[in-house]
Amino acid sequence: MARLALSSPLDVRLLDKGLSVGEALAAFNTAHDEAGGIVSFLGKVRPGDDVRALELSHYEPLTLPGMKELAKAARVRFDLEGALVWHRVGVMSPGETIVLVATAAHHRRSAFDAADYVMDHLKSAAWFWKRERRADGWHWIEPRAQDRIDLARWN
C-alpha cells in the first residue's frame, strides 16, 4: 500500500476530492502504534431518500481553522495521542465519503468519546453548509433537532 504521510499528532484537512479510507486509517494506525485504542468514524452520502447529489460549501477563512481548534480541543479534553479530521467539500454522489474522523488514545472509552465529540461538533458547530439535489432540484439542509441535542451533551 502506498505510504501516506500524516501530520502528527493532529491531521486536519479539507478535501475537494475523494479519499481512500483504508489507506488513511492504515497510516493513522501506523502513526499511533503506542495507542491502545483507535476509533474511526466514516460518514457517507446515503443513497435513497431520492438524493442524487450532495454539496458541501465552506468559508475558507473560518472552516479549516475551526476544524483545527476542534481537533485541539478534543485532544486536550480526551487526552488523545492523536486525531485525524478530514472533511470533504464540493459535490458528492451517493456512497461517497463526506467525513473521516479517527482518534487514538490510551483507553478505548477516551477514543470512543473523542470521535463522538468531534462528529457532533462537525455536524452542527463547524462552518459547513449542506444541500441535497433531489428530483425537484437543490434543497438546503439545516441541522436536525437531534444534532443539537447531541451537541449539548458535551457542555
Binding site: 462537525l122 462552518w127 453548509w129 444541500r131 441541522p143
Partner: protein
C-alpha cells in the same frame, strides 16, 4: 477598493448572488440596507452570524468594515 459582502449557504439563494461590492465604511445599518429587506430579515435572527476579515463577530451589530474588508453572512451550519 470596496467592502465585499459574501453570502454563504442558503443566504446566497435569498440574495440571488454569491457576493456584492459596496463602498466602505460599512456598519450594521449600512449592511442591512445594502443586502435588501429579505436578507436583512435573516440577519436579524440570532442564529445568523457575521464575520469581518475572517473573524466571527461576538456582537454583529458592532460591525465596522473598511474598504478592502470582506464581510461574510453566515447562516446556521450543517456539516458531516
Amino acid at each position: 477598493m470596496s467592502v465585499t459582502i459574501l453570502f454563504l449557504g442558503p443566504l446566497r439563494d435569498i440574495a440571488g448572488e454569491q457576493s456584492r461590492e459596496v463602498d466602505g465604511p460599512l456598519d450594521w445599518a449600512g449592511l442591512r440596507e445594502a443586502v435588501g429587506p429579505e436578507v436583512a430579515a435573516q440577519l436579524n435572527e440570532d442564529r445568523v452570524n457575521l464575520a469581518c476579515k475572517g473573524r466571527v463577530l461576538a456582537d454583529k451589530r458592532a460591525l465596522k468594515a473598511e474598504d478592502g474588508d470582506e464581510v461574510a453572512l453566515l447562516p446556521p451550519v450543517s456539516g458531516g
